[in-house]
Symmetry: D4
Subunit: 224 residues, 8 copies
C-alpha cells in the first residue's frame, strides 16, 4: 500500500499517510491560521480515518472554535495544544526537566506531545544549575527514564550538567525566557549546541513539540 | 562505588568514571592541545584502566606523536580520529547519509565515533536533494537502520526530506561546506533547526563526534 | 520620446514613464503611507494616463479610502493589493507553489501581481518537503509552466527540491513564517541563497510583489 | 525513460540525468575536493555519456591534474573553471555588467558558465554608480540583451539603478569585494535583496555559476 | 569664563554651556521620558538663559503638556520636534533629499533641526535610484547647496549616486523603511558605510537630528 | 548543616539555602510569572524562614496582588522591585552613575538591590561623556565609594572614562536606551566589553539586579 | 563641457572627469588588483591628463612595480598609499586624533589622503579616554582646526568625548583594532553611530581614505 | 600633585600617572605593535620611574627583542606576557578555575596579571560541568579565596554553577575555544552574560588581563 496519499481539504493538502511513514501523524500548526482553517484541517484528518487529530500553538480564539465543533475535545491551555479523538495508553517514560518556572509553557508542550503520542512522561521542574544540588537530586529519575528532555532559557546551562550524569539521550530545548543578551533564546540555543557534554541533541527555540516527537521515537525505538 | 573519580595527569584532570556514568568515556579533544598534551591525556586514560583511549580533531603532528608512542594505534585520517586499545564488536546499525562528497570528513568522524563506541555503521554518500530520487532510493536502508545521521552543508535541506520518509530518529549535522551566505555552516544549522519535519535533532556545525555519540546511545537504548 | 518624465503630486514625484522603461509601472507601496497619500498617488498615476494604478501592502484603513474614491476598485484582501483600472487578459502561465498553508498571504501577493501584470497563474499549495511525494506530484504542472515561483518559510527547503526537477527558472520567496531560529525569515532566506540546486533566484523575505514582477518578465521575455 | 539514474564513481553518486530533468548537467564543485576526486567525477560524467564535463572553483593543483589527464581540456583561469568535451555554439545574448575591476573573477565565472551552457555573453565592466553616466551609457546594450547579470561588491547599488532602466530580468550577484562593514559581501547582498526596483533577483555571494545557469535558462526559455 | 557649568533640575543635570563649547545646545531627547520630565528639562534650559529650548522624538502626550505650559511653543508633528523661544534667521542652504515618500518623517526631523539651528533648508523628495533621471534632475540644487543630506531606506543606494555628482559633503541617513532583509535599517546603513563614492558620511538609522546638527556645522564652518 | 535544601511550593522548587551558600537569597524573577505564582514564591520563602522575600521585574498587576497579601510590602515602582520583611541597615557605599535620565529605571533597580542587600548607595545621574566635565566632577564621590556601578545606554562610553579615573572596581550596566544601531543595548554592551580601560566588568543589558548583587559582594568582601 | 567622459584602459573604465564633478579624482583601490592592473590604471589616469594619479591599500608587490615604472613616485608605507605627479600645497588644517598607537595605519591613510588632496593635517596620537586628561589637553588644537578626524578601535569611545568639546565637525573612523567582542571593528562602529554627542559622522571600519576625502571637502567648503 | 601627566616617547603618549589614579599602571598591548614600538614603550615607562613595565599579547619576535634589551626580563610564554623590573610580593589569593585544558593560555594571562599586580593566585584546571563532581570538589578552595576567576570556552556554563556555590565575586572570562556555533567565543560570552546565578561579572572574550586586573582590585579593596 502506498504511503504517499494526500487529502485536499481546500485550505490544505493533508499528508494522511505521514503516520504510516514516520510514526507521527500530520499535526496542525495553528499559529497564523484562522480558526476556520484549523478546524477544517482537524476535520479533514478525522475524515481521512485518523484516530486522533491534533493541533499545536493554538490561539485562544481557535480553542473556542474547536470546542464548539467537538465539545469533548481535549484542551491543554498551558501547552496551547488541542486534540480530538482517542489517545493510546502510555508506554515507557520520558523525564522532562525545566531550569525555571518560566519555562513551564514549553515543558507543557513537551508533555502534551508525549501524551498524544502514547508515551509516558514525568516532569521535575525548577532544577536550574544556580542550585546544582537540585540537579544532582534527580539522579534516580534519570536512571529509570527512557529518554530525557531538558527545557531551559537564559544561559541554557542545564543540559550540559544533566548529560554528564546519565547515559540517556538528552534532548535540549532552548526557550525564549530571558532578556538582553538572551536574544530571545539565541544564547540558550548556542550554549546547548556547544555543550561540552556529548549526547546532547538540540531542537529549535521553544519547540516543545519537536522535542516531544523525538523523545517518543526514542521510547518506541527501545520498544521495537 | 563512586562514579566521580578524577585522575590528575598534570595537563588535565581526567574524568575517569565518565563512561560508568554516561556510557561514553572522556574523549580527548586534540585541537588546540600540543602533541605532548594529547599523548599525556591518552596515556592517563589507559593508566586509569580504560580499555580504549581516544582522541578527535587530531592534528597531523599529533598523529605522528601518537604513532611513535603506540605503534599499533588506530588512525583514521579522513576523520582525524586516533585510538589506542581494543574496540568492542559492533552491535546494531546506524545509517549515515551525506548530501555531497565535500561532507565526507564530518561523516567519517561520525563513522569513527560509532566504531569506537562498538556500534555498526552503514554509509550512503552524495544523496543531496537536488536529485531527490537519490534520497528516495535509500528507503530500504532507512527501514533497517536503528537510527539515522544526516550530514549536509550549504542549504542543509536533506534532513527535512529524510525525516519525512522514516520513523527513525534523525540526527542532523550541519557542515561548514559552502561559501558566502552559507556563513560557515550557519545557513545549514538554521535550516535544520527550523525543519518542517518533526523528529530532527541537531548538533553543532561539523560535530560528527557528538552525532556519533548520540546515535550510539539510541542503538544502545534499543538494546537495553 | 523621453522615458524620464516625473509627475509631482505633492506627496510624491511619480515616475510616470517607468512602465515604458521597465515594463512595470510605478506601484504604490502603501505601508507607512497615510490613506490620503496612497489615494493621491493612485490618482496621480491615473491622471498621468496610466490604464491601471496599483498599490501593495495596503492597510485596512486605506482599502476603505480607496473604495470610497473608486467604488469599482479591485481589492484582494488576502494579498493586501488594490488596483483601479483595467487589467490586460493573461498570457502564459506561472506556477506558484507554497510549502504550507501559512505561506498563503505571500503567495496571494504573487498571484495578484501576476494578474495585474496580465500574466496567467496556477497555484498549488501545501506541498512541503516533509511529504516529498506531494512535490513529485507537481511534475506535470512544472512541465507546462513558463516559470515557477516557490514560496516557503521555516526551513525554506522546497525550492532546492523543485529546482532539481525542472528546467524552468525558479524564483524563491522566503517567508517570515516560523519562530525561534527561523529569525523572521532569515533561516529560509539563507537556505534559498545556498541552495545546492542551481537555477534558484531569490527575492526579499515576504516579497511576493518582486517575485511576481520577475516571473512576469520571464513570461514576457519568452513571448518577445 | 527515467530521468532518475545515478552513476556511482566511488567518490560520488553522479546524477547523470540531471541535464535531462533540469537543462543543466551535474557540474563538479571542486573546492574542498582533492584533485583525484575532481578528476574521477569528470571522468565518470564523460563515461556516462555526457558531451561536456565541467568543474567550478577549481584549485590550481586540480587544474594541473585535469590538464595531465585531458591535455585539450579548456581552462579559464580567471574564472577557475575547467571543462572537457565540446561546447555548443552560443545562442542569444546575456549582458554581464560589473561595478568595478575587482569584481572580475566573479563575472568571469558568469561568462564561463554561459559559454559552457551554449549561451552568448557580452561583458561591460567597471560601470559603478559613483559615475552614473557610465551606467546610462549601457542603455543600447540593455536593449538588445535577453537577460542582464549585474556583479557588484561594496555597496551593491548597481542592480537597483540598472533595473530602473530596462525591462529585462536582472540577476544580481553580490561579491565579497570590500572591507569592514562590507562583511565579506553581506552588505551588497542585503542591498540587492531590498532593492527599490522590482525585477531584481539575487543569488549567493560570489555565485557567478548560479547566475550564469539562471541567465541561460532565461535565454532558453525565450527560445522555446 | 568656564564652559563647564551644569544646572541640576532634579530630573537631569543640564549641560548649559554645551552651546558655548559645541555650537549646539543640549537638546532634550524626549523618548522614554515622561511629559513632566521633558517639560522640566525645557524649563530648566530656559531658566538658565537659553534663548531656545528644544526637544526631539516627542510623544503625542508630551506635545500636549508642552503646549499647555507654553501656548506659543512651536510644534512640528511630522518631525516630532517642539521648541520654545526664538529661532535665528536662516543662513546658508542645506539640500535634503529623500529616496521615497516613506522617508518623510526622518527628513522632517532634519529640516526642523536645521530651522532650530538657524540654517536654511531645501527639500526635494522621492528621487530614488529606480528612476535615476530624478536624481540627475537635482544637479542645479546640488550646485548651490552648502551641504547635502540624503535620507533613504530599503537598499539605501541614493547617497552613492548623489556623491558621484557633487563636490559637497554628503551626510547619509539610513531609515528603517522596508521589511525583511532591510532588517529595520541595517541594510541601508551597511550600504551607506560601504559606498563606492567617497565623501559619504553616515549617521545612525533614523537619526535626522544628528544629520541636521552636522549639516549645520558644515554651513557655519563655511561662514566662519 | 547542609546548604542544599529545596522547598517545593508547587509552582517552584525554592532554593532556600542559597543565601547561606552565596550571600544572596533566591530572588523571584516576576516577569513571565502570574501574580499568583509570584505571591506563592514570596510566601514560600517567608514560610521557610527568610527574613526578607523579594521580587524583581514585577508587573503592575503583581504589585497589586502583593500589596493585597502583605499591605506593608515595600514597593519601588521606578525599579519594579517589591519586598516583604525587614531590610538590614546599610553598610558601606556604592556609587551609582547614569549617563542620562533615560537610564533611570535600571539605576533604580541597582539601588533597590543594594538596599535589600543592606548596602549603602549614592546616586549621581546624567553625567554622560558628551559633557565630560560632569564626569570629572564626580572624582570626590569616586574616592569615597567602595565600588562603582555605571549605567549607560546608546554608545555606552561612560564606564571607560570612569575606570580611567579610579582604582575602584567598575561594574558596567549597558541599557537598552537608544534606537537604530543601538540594537536594544547591543552597542553599549560591546563598548563596555571592549573598554580600553581595564577594571571594567560587565553584566547583561538592563541587568540592574545583577550589578547590585555584585557591588554588594564587593562591599561585603571589603568588610570581611 | 561634459563631466561624464570615461577612459577605457582595458582593465578599467576610468571616470576621468570625476574630479571636475566631485572635487576628488578617481583613486585606484589596489587591494585585489594585480600590480599590472594598478599600474595600468595609474598610467591611464596620467594619460588622460590628471596632474596626480593615486592608489590606496597598495600591496608590497605593487609598490615595487609602481617604483619601477615611476622612480620618483611618492610612497607612504605606513598608509599603503602611492602617488605619481604633483601635489598641491596644503590649505587649511585638519586635526587627526588616534586613541592608541595601534590605530596608526588608519591615521596614516587619513594624513596621506589629506596631503594628496592639498589639505593641511596635524596629528596628535594616543589620546584614548582611559586617560581623559590627554583628550582635554588637545583643546587648543581643536580650536584652530577646520575639521577633526578621530580614529579609534576597541570601544570607539573617543569621538563622543571629542565632539562634546568642540564645534568642529567630527569625522569618526572605527578601526579593526581589538579582539573578541570588538568583532573586527563592529563594536567601535556601533559606538560611533550611537554617540550621545551630535555632530559625529561615521565612515566604514578602517576607511582612512573616506575620512580624508570628507575632511578635505569640509576645508574646501570653508574656503569657497 | 597632578595625576594627569603624559610622557611622549615618539610612538606613544604614555599615561605615566595611571597607576596613581587607578592602581594599575599603563600596560603595553603588544599585538599590532612592532617589536621596536613595544620596546620603546617599555623603556619609556621605566624612564618615567615605573618600578615595573609590562606588556601583554607579546608576539614571539617581540619577546626576543625584549630579552635582548633587558636580559633579565621576566617572560611567561604560555601567557604571552613579559615584564621588566620588580614585582611586589603577593597579598591575598584569587582562585582561577578553567573548564578545560584548552583554556590554559587565557588562565595563564590571568595568573601573570595577578603576579605582576602583587596578588596571590591559585589555579585549579579542567573542572568543566560535564563532570560536575569536579566543580563540587573545589568548595574548600572557594571558601578561602578572596575572589574567583572562571575561564571557559564552548558552552561557557561553568561560572553559573560556581556562582551558585560561593559568596565570592565571580569574574567570568569567555574563551574562543570551540568551533561552529561557538562562534569564536560568542556562545560562551552570551551564556555568561545571561547566567541564571547573580554575582557573575563578565569581561571580553579571551581577556585574561582584564579579569586579572579586576580580581586584583577586589583583593586590594578587601585589604584597604
Amino acid at each position: 500500500m502506498s504511503t504517499d496519499r494526500t487529502h485536499d481539504v481546500g485550505v490544505a493538502r493533508l499528508d494522511v499517510d505521514r503516520e504510516a511513514r514516520t510514526g507521527t501523524p500530520e499535526v496542525v500548526y495553528a499559529e497564523g491560521k484562522t480558526a476556520a482553517q484549523t478546524v477544517a484541517c482537524l476535520a479533514g484528518l478525522l475524515d481521512a480515518g485518523a484516530p486522533l487529530a491534533w493541533a499545536t500553538r493554538v490561539p485562544a480564539g481557535t480553542v473556542a472554535a474547536v470546542r464548539e465543533r467537538w465539545p469533548d475535545a481535549h484542551v491543554d491551555e498551558a501547552a496551547r495544544v488541542v486534540w480530538v479523538g482517542t489517545v493510546a495508553p502510555p508506554v515507557g517514560e520520558v523525564l522532562v526537566l525545566t531550569a525555571g518556572t518560566s519555562d513551564d509553557a514549553v515543558a507543557a508542550e513537551v508533555a502534551a506531545t508525549l501524551a498524544a503520542s502514547g508515551v509516558g512522561c514525568r516532569r521535575v521542574d525548577d532544577v536550574g544549575v544556580a542550585g546544582v544540588h537540585r540537579v544532582l537530586a534527580v539522579a534516580p529519575d534519570l536512571a529509570r527514564a527512557d529518554a530525557v528532555v531538558v527545557v531551559a532559557g537564559m544561559d541554557g546551562a542545564l543540559p550540559s550538567v544533566v548529560a554528564g550524569l546519565t547515559d540517556r539521550l538528552v534532548v535540549a530545548v532552548p526557550t525564549s525566557v530571558g532578556y538582553g543578551a538572551a536574544f530571545e533564546g539565541l544564547a540558550a540555543l548556542l550554549t546547548m549546541l556547544t555543550s561540552c557534554a556529548p549526547g546532547v541533541l538540540v531542537v529549535n527555540i521553544d519547540n516543545g513539540f519537536g522535542a516531544g516527537v523525538a523523545a517518543a521515537r526514542i521510547v518506541r525505538s527501545a520498544q521495537r
